[in-house]
Symmetry: C2
Subunit: 278 residues, 2 copies
């Protein structure tokens, strides 16, 4: 579907909070207008057969669907790419999580793109234990992914809703949230390991080091969106070689409530260098 040769690659990621609802509220128009080459979706919350054909197979896109097979109407990730992937993988080798609709990858020439929906968690409940188990297993995957990609000459970007704000600048009300899931010290430390120990780079923060946010999620409760009481929990976590090629990054924050079709906003990064056909 390319009509001109691009010299950049744009990747966008968004938690759609139910693709059935989002499709009736502006997602379709957004996808139609996006300049992205790859789109990562999280919280699809539907199987293909529950979605309209033009949503399941939008013209001009190759799509990998990874709905939850264990909990109907929950989680679910997808990857859309204008190029046909060389390989598609669902899950990351976890007995517990591979059917949960929380992770999928596609290989493009020179680039592996992943869509991640990390469990939200809730302090004091089994759901926090689940999140921590996921984090433990996923860290190992991130290491292996990086090594495999390097051996193949590929860069990697793991896009998605990581459900953790890393630093104080990543959420408006950080003081009040230090004991809440999403900004717990142990969760923040785990993200630090992803960056400092495994060596991935938080692309948006790299390009915008000295700002609050930009937030990518605002609770539907209260007036969080209008007062910009948001969290930056949606990331493009890239290998250093790819992060060095990041040219621009932005959060596509809707201007107002009626335009919102999710409680998250798309996080879009443009990288230098085209994805060339093989």
């Amino acid at each position: 579907m390319r009509s001109t040769t691009r010299t950049t690659t744009t990747v966008t990621t968004v938690n759609v909070n139910g693709l059935r609802a989002a499709s009736g509220k502006g997602y379709v128009e957004w996808l139609d207008a996006t300049e992205a080459d790859v789109v990562c979706l999280q919280e699809v919350r539907a199987e293909q057969k529950q979605l309209a054909a033009h949503v399941v197979e939008p013209a001009g896109w190759h799509v990998l669907w990874a709905p939850s097979t264990t909990a109907k109407g929950r989680a679910g990730v997808a990857l859309l790419s204008r190029h046909e992937p060389q390989a598609r993988r669902i899950g990351f080798g976890s007995d517990e999580f591979d059917g949960s609709g929380r992770y999928a990858e596609i290989d493009l020439p020179g680039l592996t793109v992943a869509s991640l929906y990390l469990p939200s968690g809730e302090v004091g409940t089994e759901r926090q234990d689940e999140k921590e188990r996921f984090m433990g297993e996923f860290l190992d995957h991130l290491k292996a992914l990086r090594e495999r990609a390097a051996s193949q000459g590929r860069e990697v970007v793991v896009c998605g809703d990581w459900n953790i704000a890393h630093q104080e600048a990543d959420l408006k009300n950080w003081k009040a949230n230090q004991k809440n899931a999403g900004f717990l010290p142990e969760e923040r430390a785990w993200l630090s390991r992803v960056f400092d120990e495994v060596g991935y780079v938080d692309t948006v923060r790299k390009l915008h080091p000295d700002v609050a946010g930009p937030y990518s999620w605002w609770s539907y409760r209260g007036r969080a969106f209008d007062s910009d009481a948001g969290w930056r929990i949606d990331y493009q976590v890239a290998t250093p070689g790819l992060a060095d090629r990041a040219l621009t990054a932005r959060v596509e924050r809707a201007a107002s409530h009626p335009e919102r079709w999710s409680d998250h906003a798309p996080v879009t990064v443009t990288y230098d260098g085209a994805i060339l056909p093989e």
Copy 2:
């Protein structure tokens, strides 16, 4: 709140299918406009504290609420009267059903009015057994009610959603529904006993003996309302002396979909003779 002396008494009954939803779709305006002296509600599906004050205690009305105490958000009946009742009763002396929000009575001078929400039932399930148990116990109550009222010099009208169509004229698709709950031979026979053996009168049918319907319920499924594929399952079941005083009866069928605030329509009967203050 009466400003003139009435010489008639109007009673209306309607299954509101969730008073919270109905209140936002036209119920409030309907109540404000009604000429009725007594209003019987079924399927309120809310406790008082979940409703706005002007709905719980509308100006000019005395209200008896009987929500379900056993299943939150289910069933629930109420009685509104412009006169202050002399007595109020919830339930009919049943261990199983008195807390289920399916029956309440008020005594007015010369008249007992009841609001009934008989279980819907579903063939082949425990819910049909429940309906039949209710019918068995309730028939005894109808007998006792009639005798008590007679000894007190009161007439009786049991208003509500009986969830049974009596005869072929009482539903559009009677042939297709002979094996469905609501038009089973045993249910129809039970209603016949109410009329023929216990001696109550189906007031609306008495005034309109030779018409199809008038229906009072149309499924939300398909185009039942637009094609008038309805059922007459909401009744005013009166003692003969009161039924003889019935002057007019009508179903307040909304003209079109947007005006509907329930899948049922109010059934309104005007009886000769005023409810006088004591």
